[in-house]
């Protein structure tokens, strides 16, 4: 059995060990009064980024809304691993309707609350990337353009993992999935496809759009808290590694997520009313290979022989993000 040295970080780093921080800047998750909105005992895989992201996001949302929260969930891993009766893991009012309608259901919850004058209650809709960028996209766009008072959380693990790792509109170029297999001269997911949902959300001109990652849970909590304080349609796109679908070690979820951020492949930024207003600088830029080599879905690129063109294309995406979002601090 292999072992790994665990490093403990001090105040001032971006890691979770924040007991040395002053009270106001501590994470919600480190507080004794955290609500455990997504409670332990659910059936997520080891190292699941989505379960981690959801837990932090919802506990932060609960704190920011003074525990006045209703969550609507699209069909997907999060719904399936959290809900089978009689062991619902949800400690908050939670509803699942369909795969493609979570934003509309949430709009309905918000409308009912408005009709009843219960303005103190916050409505969240959440789903994976399939529910968000593909099947629920129409409802999501409708919720955005009406500027309904809903915070939408997308947990992006870059494929349909619940059904067994099929390509979604959020699958990165060259990634192997079970519907973008590496056969003949096909290098996995075709390059030049897919959609960038945060940019599309921004194009709706909604008050708040942000990206976050489980690599930086403090930042994730802060963005959820910011979003709860904004009225209207809000969108938070959270990068969540999936060990099963990505072929990464469950113990490396945080590491993989961090390398996505530090390579520039997953830029962290915030936008208000269609304009980027803040981005998180990369402290130490790493080449994309460091990210790719931890995941078997990119194994075919690393060789031998190495697919230098493909790796250069992925590096170009990272480099472009660094320029676009001003990630050199």
């Amino acid at each position: 059995m292999s072992t790994e040295r665990i490093k403990f970080y001090q105040t001032g780093t971006f890691t979770a060990g924040n007991r040395l921080l002053d009270e106001a800047t501590r994470t919600v998750q480190s507080r004794v009064d955290r609500t455990n909105s997504l409670n332990s005992g659910h059936r997520a895989c080891q190292g699941c980024g989505e379960a981690l992201g959801a837990r932090y996001a919802l506990d932060a949302a609960m704190r920011a809304s003074r525990n006045q929260l209703i969550a609507v969930n699209a069909t997907g891993c999060l719904e399936v691993f959290s809900s089978p009766y009689p062991e619902s893991s949800w400690q908050i009012p939670w509803m699942h309707s369909l795969f493609g309608n979570a934003p509309a259901v949430a709009s309905g919850v918000a409308a009912a609350l408005r009709a009843k004058g219960r303005d103190e209650v916050t409505v969240i809709a959440q789903g994976g990337d399939g529910a968000t960028v593909d099947i629920g996209f129409g409802c999501l766009s409708g919720m955005f353009e009406r500027n309904d008072d809903v915070l939408y959380l997308c947990y992006d693990n870059e494929a349909y993992m619940n059904t067994g790792i099929q390509r979604s509109g959020s699958t990165p170029p060259f990634a192997r999935t079970n519907t973008t297999q590496v056969v003949a001269d096909h290098p996995g997911n075709p390059v030049g496809t897919g959609k960038n949902l945060p940019r599309i959300a921004m194009a709706h001109g909604i008050p708040y759009v942000a990206t976050a990652s489980v690599a930086d849970l403090h930042d994730l909590e802060r963005k959820v808290t910011t979003a709860i304080g904004v009225q209207g349609a809000r969108y938070l796109h959270i990068h969540v590694p999936c060990p099963l679908g990505w072929g990464s070690d469950p113990a490396h979820t945080m590491k993989v997520a961090r390398l996505a951020v530090e390579s520039g492949l997953f830029p962290l930024f915030e936008a208000e009313c269609g304009t980027v207003v803040r981005s998180t600088p990369i402290r130490r830029k790493v080449p994309v290979e460091r990210y790719l080599e931890l995941q078997t879905r990119f194994k075919h690129l690393l060789g031998p022989p190495q697919d230098t063109n493909a790796i250069a294309a992925i590096q170009a995406i990272a480099d472009a993000n660094i320029v676009t979002y001003g990630l050199w601090g």
Partner: protein, 417 residues
């Protein structure tokens, strides 16, 4: 208040008095006038704090109501045809979750070929989704059914469709009695949900259910429908006491005393059938009519009772189960299982074709003479069909059916060569 009003406008007026709290709207003919009028009433503040949500699709319309209903709001939308089919997944979901949403179906044909006129194909397609389906004969009944629908839906926590024939009713101007708001309030109490998304008392709604419990959850939905068979007569009786007129109900007989033949149908064609019954009765032909007012749940017991002593049944239905024939007639045959009497299926009025009294009379004459083919298509132009079938035998690349039939019947422009 007695007024002369278009069906859709009247439905909107009565809807406002039912005090919905969330209305979702997406345009599709022929229901659009209903939500247009409601949008005005909401904007004027005539329906309290009611929220009117302009959505991007019918799928979203019903999804919005699913969220709103689970949050304790009385909810309403209207749709037709392709719109109902586009929301099909949510239709099943709303019923499976037990949410008492009320939806008007302005019945319209389902394409292809695209057709905006009336038949019952749309609501028939969703007949087994778990919604109660009530059918209106005329506009007075349509508005009365909406008042009853909310009370029924909320009593059972089960969604209800009020089906009214597109154009024939929705766009027809008829005199109607619109009860005032206080009167409606006295019949329809405020909505008390049985399940609620409430931060102060959190529950999980819509959890995954496996093989161990799925059948039981589904059975309970069936049980609620069986309860509806008892509750609907009670509610219509209470309605009559309160509003002083009969409206709705499971099924209603017309001149069935001593009837040898029963013609069964749903919706506005009942009016035409009643005229035919009157005429044939004058000629001493013992025919009667039964209106099915509630199609889901199907009122088997009540219908079986009404058909005692009848020796022949004709089901006139505005839909077609392709490859089978009738849909309603299959339910009627099941109702009459064990009784050796002929049940004729008559497919009529598809895509808005008029159902004339003369055709109906002829149909009854043919049935009595044992000359009805099964299923019998009322007023089908067989010459055109023979021509088209022959043409398609001869030419492999025969082209689209609809366009050729239109050309043959000379109802469209000539061929561009």
């Amino acid at each position: 208040m007695n007024v002369q009003m278009e069906g859709s406008q009247a439905v909107a007026e009565i809807l406002a008095r039912c005090r919905p709290e969330v209305i979702a709207a997406y345009p599709i003919s022929p229901q659009t006038h209903i939500v247009e009028r409601l949008s005005v009433k909401v904007a004027r503040g005539e329906i309290g704090r009611c929220q009117f949500v302009n959505v991007e699709s019918e799928f979203a319309a019903l999804s919005v109501l699913i969220g709103a209903s689970a949050s304790g709001a009385r909810t309403y939308t209207a749709t037709s045809s392709q719109g109902l089919l586009f929301m099909a997944e949510a239709v099943y979901n709303a019923a499976g979750l037990g949410l008492p949403i009320v939806m008007t179906i302005a019945n319209r044909a389902v394409g292809a070929p695209i057709n905006i006129w009336n038949d019952h194909s749309d609501s028939m397609a969703l007949r087994d989704a778990g919604w109660i389906q009530l059918f209106a004969e005329h506009n007075q009944e349509a508005i009365d059914l909406h008042i009853q629908a909310f009370r029924l839906a909320e009593a059972l926590s089960c969604p209800v469709m009020v089906c009214m024939d597109g154009y024939v009713l929705t766009h027809a101007s008829e005199p109607v009695d619109l009860p005032d708001a206080a009167h409606v309030d006295a019949y329809l109490p405020p909505y008390q949900p049985v399940q609620l998304l409430d931060p102060n008392d959190p529950v999980s709604i819509g959890a995954m259910v496996g093989p161990d419990a799925f059948a039981e959850v589904k059975y309970l939905a069936h049980h609620q429908h069986l309860r509806a068979l008892d509750l609907i007569p009670e509610l219509t009786q209470a309605f009559e006491q309160h509003f002083h007129r009969q409206s709705g109900g499971l099924c209603s007989p017309y001149r069935m005393e001593g009837a040898d033949i029963a013609v069964i149908a749903m919706g506005s064609v009942i009016g035409t059938i009643k005229d035919v019954v009157d005429e044939l009765r004058r000629a001493s032909i013992p025919v009667g009519c039964i209106k099915i007012g509630c199609y889901r749940p199907f009122p088997m017991l009540r219908l079986r009772g009404l058909l005692e002593g009848v020796s022949r049944v004709i089901v006139v239905e505005k839909d077609l189960a392709v490859g089978v024939g009738g849909i309603v007639s299959a339910d009627v045959q099941l109702t009459l299982s064990g009784r050796q009497i002929p049940v004729h299926t008559v497919i009529a009025g598809l895509g808005g074709r008029s159902i004339s009294t003369s055709s109906l009379k002829q149909m009854i004459v043919e049935a009595r003479a044992e000359r009805l083919t099964e299923p019998y298509f009322l007023d089908l132009n067989k010459t055109v069909i023979e021509q088209e079938l022959a043409r398609r035998r001869d030419i492999r690349r025969a082209g689209p059916v609809a366009e050729h039939i239109l050309r043959t019947m000379n109802v469209m422009g000539t061929k561009v060569s």
